[in-house]
Symmetry: D2
């Protein structure tokens, strides 16, 4: 029975982890941390469901757990990870602190010096569909961002095949509000979000752009001269959970001859949490809400734009985009069935 600790348990990703762990038969929650609600129970915040007491960081019994999930903000998360690793325990970090391998890029993106750059090479990017073996062997997983997950999965088979005619992928992404976190702000006020659609961080200024570019290029592995680049446009949807990315790429003349539907079906045939939809179906948030699935559909274009391929990828931003993938990574790190707690 794995013993679990969660830091930052009262945000949306923390709460989702607790929910998922309820159904995990080989793990149990030992402690849940919340700096702002010490002394309270989770059931005070979400009645009906849990009676786990919330503790402060200094009171966390690290010795009693095997693995820690960190849902803390960046910087704070890296500090915690260092402490947990030093105690000989494993860490799944849901913050952005260990996703970027280059400390300078991290500093430029997150506007502060990385507290533990020495750990950057130790961390493994937690996208099982690409890095499963490495995840199984590490004690520090950098859990991917939600936007990167929904952008990388539909691009992966194309990049592995070197199919791009130009080094640009356009990712038009739409996310539910829980992705913005639980802290109140005008941006997340019901009346400001409801009945609207708001593009934000347009023109590649979103913090996930360097993460997406880094992973896409790691997959591309130098096939594309000069490297590939995403044009990434996030939009805030008036829904609580769910994310959909519409991806536009241009194919090389040879790649236009490929039956990509078959390639994708083969590439993801053994992936428990990726479903390539049959020809003619289109991925939609409803298909994957509250599951750890990524649904991908392919839509070849014809006529004057037959050199383009359009793909759609839908995930739940809190599950496959965060806490579900984190649990999948934990299962891999401890040799459990990858699907446990996620069915």
């Amino acid at each position: 029975m794995l013993r679990i600790g969660i830091f930052g348990a009262t945000g949306y990703t923390g709460l989702e982890l607790v929910r998922l762990l309820q159904n995990h038969r080989q793990a149990r929650l030992v402690f849940a941390h919340s700096e702002s609600n010490p002394g309270a129970k989770l059931s005070d915040i979400i009645p009906c469901l849990y009676d786990v007491p919330l503790i402060k960081a200094d009171d966390a019994p690290l010795a009693d757990v095997d693995v820690v999930f960190s849902c803390l903000p960046h910087a704070a998360s890296a500090e915690l990870a260092a402490r947990v690793l030093a105690a000989g325990k494993k860490v799944v970090d849901l913050s952005a602190d260990f996703r970027l391998t280059n400390a300078a890029v991290y500093e430029k993106t997150y506007k502060h010096v990385h507290p533990h750059p020495e750990l950057l090479t130790r961390a493994v990017y937690g996208l099982p569909e690409r890095y499963r073996e490495r995840i199984a062997q590490t004690d520090l997983v950098a859990n991917p961002g939600c936007y990167p997950t929904s952008t990388i999965l539909p691009a992966l088979p194309l990049l592995e095949a070197g199919a791009l005619a130009e080094p640009v992928l356009i990712a038009d992404s739409k996310s539910g509000v829980s992705g913005a976190g639980r802290k109140p702000s005008t941006t997340t006020h019901f009346v400001e979000v409801n009945e609207g659609l708001t593009p934000y961080n347009v023109a590649n200024v979103h913090r996930h752009v360097p993460e997406i570019d880094q992973v896409l290029n790691d997959i591309d592995n130098g096939r594309t001269p000069g490297g590939v680049n995403v044009i990434f446009t996030p939009h805030l949807l008036p829904i609580s959970r769910g994310m959909l990315t519409t991806l536009y790429v241009r194919l090389t003349p040879e790649a236009r001859q490929t039956d990509w539907q078959s390639v994708f079906e083969k590439r993801y045939a053994n992936e428990p949490f990726v479903r390539v939809l049959p020809r003619g179906q289109t991925a939609s948030i409803a298909h994957v809400a509250r599951t750890n699935m990524a649904a991908i559909s392919l839509h070849p274009l014809g006529g004057a734009v037959a050199d383009r391929l359009l793909l759609v990828c839908a995930i739940d931003n809190l599950t496959k985009g965060a806490s579900g993938q984190a649990l999948q990574n934990m299962n891999l790190m401890f040799g459990l069935d990858e699907r446990e707690g996620l069915r």
Copy 2:
């Protein structure tokens, strides 16, 4: 051409007033105040619509206006009203500061001493359907709360007729989120509100209860020994605008013989902003959203509960429940067509 000033112009009631004034042919906005955005324009906050510059309170040119709308929080609003009245100008106060006639009840309800109790008797409660003549003669209107408006209008003809068999009215009310104001909080966070329904301030602890009771009793005018009492239960709806109150009363034996549909139709026949729906129709928020109308439907019960009458009243909480009614009151105060700017 009436000259208008608005204090607290960037909250939901302030913004709604600005919108409505755009269509008013005999009034123009002279200044809009916002302490937190001085130097900005309204179009910086709501692009596409207005270019009114926002000013600080100290810079407000009171001499240049005929009437001021105050959308400030309580206490601050009374201070402002005193200042404006002293300058010889009229005031429509959208806060709660002048709704309660008793300073002790005010203090108990709002938890601070009333800054200007001497103005309480000068203020007129701005429900035109009951107090039209007095509104026309005052220089200080206490604009009704949204819940009181939707509760009092369907009760009014019953109380005027002394129809209640017991001194209790049950008002089960449901409101859109804009009624909670524009300030971010967990309560108004999109994810917390969306896909839910939350009763709050249950068991008569909402601040509108004393206001409702005071007005109901003023209408009842001593007919009911001991006075009438509301049991008022507000619920937060996952919508931006709109309010619906379901009202349950018990009728005296004589009142059970009355055709209340006809009574209501006659009572409200000349009211431009109350519509008594035909028998068989049920009032709904969709009927009145973004209008200044109150829709009322009557639903007599039969069988073992034939002594009860059920009524439904729907309004838009920002229009008839706040800024629209405020504009209606302003029109009355200056002898204009009551409907101007509200069609």
Copy 3:
């Protein structure tokens, strides 16, 4: 391993049953019926999740199952139940066909002659909190309606104690749209529902009224002379799932002395799916969405209305209000842990 068949599997209650059965460790789905989609798979309708083939009624292998869930419309459901019972199998009927014990009341309510009145006394009303022992022994469960569930549970301890001062309970109920079924209509059109709140079947004309009255009086058991009556007002909420009932009752002088919070906590202490919230908390749809829990909160009134008690009950209309409770009943009928598949 229990073998399950579902009739009417592609409506909202049928789909929810399939979802829940995925997590049931002692039952497996043998067939899913859909007259309108024969030959298709469930995964054609809800991609990503299931690959169960859909069959027509005549092809259903009744011999291969132990129990059948009927999600068919009324009348059709009774016909099916008779056929399944004749084959020696058990039935959980989610339609209204076996909820009313009186065939004449059924005919008046549902506007057609009951196809199998001889089965009415055989059926047990599937509210485990009141009829657990009888459910365990029957082969025909009439699964309660969603509105009755959310109205009866908060009234039950009061009626068992004979606490009502007058024979009337006011139930102001609000339901998500899935309760209206999956068949398209103007009533369920997104634009007609969204941003609104619509009372419907007002003045006790909803079909659930006779069901609520029947069960309330069965519980009351003659304590109240002339019997008790609900005044029931349903409202359509702009949400997909969830139901909340606000209940108003008047207490006898003795009952006003009772600590109802303690009574409720004791009455429901051993119920796995009822949670009486601590004093000061208020039941809300968010607490129970996508769970089989009923959350109940009590709100005594004071002052001039101290003879009244206000209660709030929240459930998920598709889970505790339909498919979850149906599964709970199946567990009881077969001697399984009542909670299996519902945690």
Copy 4:
């Protein structure tokens, strides 16, 4: 005083026209047609607002009006337009019947032979920002589709300048549900739409693609060898009204030197219903909901993708995308102030 007739008045575009006409000071509604509700009044469908009686098509007094708006389905609309034109009256057609200039393309797109191909050249495409002079002189306006409006307006200044480096524009569009019409279907069922986002008619199979391509090429006027092509992806948003198009184009080397913000501001400086947002702001549906405005923002990219320009355009699909633009066109056809009824 212009006299108006509306055919198809009880759909969403018809109802919106009626609403807008309420505020038009130089026009009045003479008749409203609805084949399915003859004898009823509009106030039976939308209580509180209007008392216009609904008539059948054969009873429409064409002689009593100056202009007819047709909100009928395609094919039926062309038949009606021919009849109205023959009676010497003007027509604003909100269907697709006169938008495509080529009858063969129409037949291929709409799957039936055009009933009146002889009128195709007589019709003027009702996009005032490009065709104002021709609109003022015609008696038959083909009112643009909502998606075309939101795609063409942000592309127009670029095409007029010949700025595209490749003949492809990617338009990722998102629309509220009212665009799908008022007829109930699974697609518009509240539960199916709510909490989701659904791409549909992906891979350029939406009927608006030929319309967009035709108008873009008319504007391009042969500058681009082989013509320009849109890649158009519509998504269904869980909101009632509003539309947002995110447009991605590639610029020629010379065009990369241009200050497009200034070009757009100049191009649209005198347009009453287009607002180019200041640098740094991003167009959003909230800015334009329930107005006739199109908000456009420009977002140049940098680094490795500096050859791309991203634009966002937001409109209300029922106003600028349909009935508002129709009224704007009517104003132009009769020499009225273009803004009348639309402020």
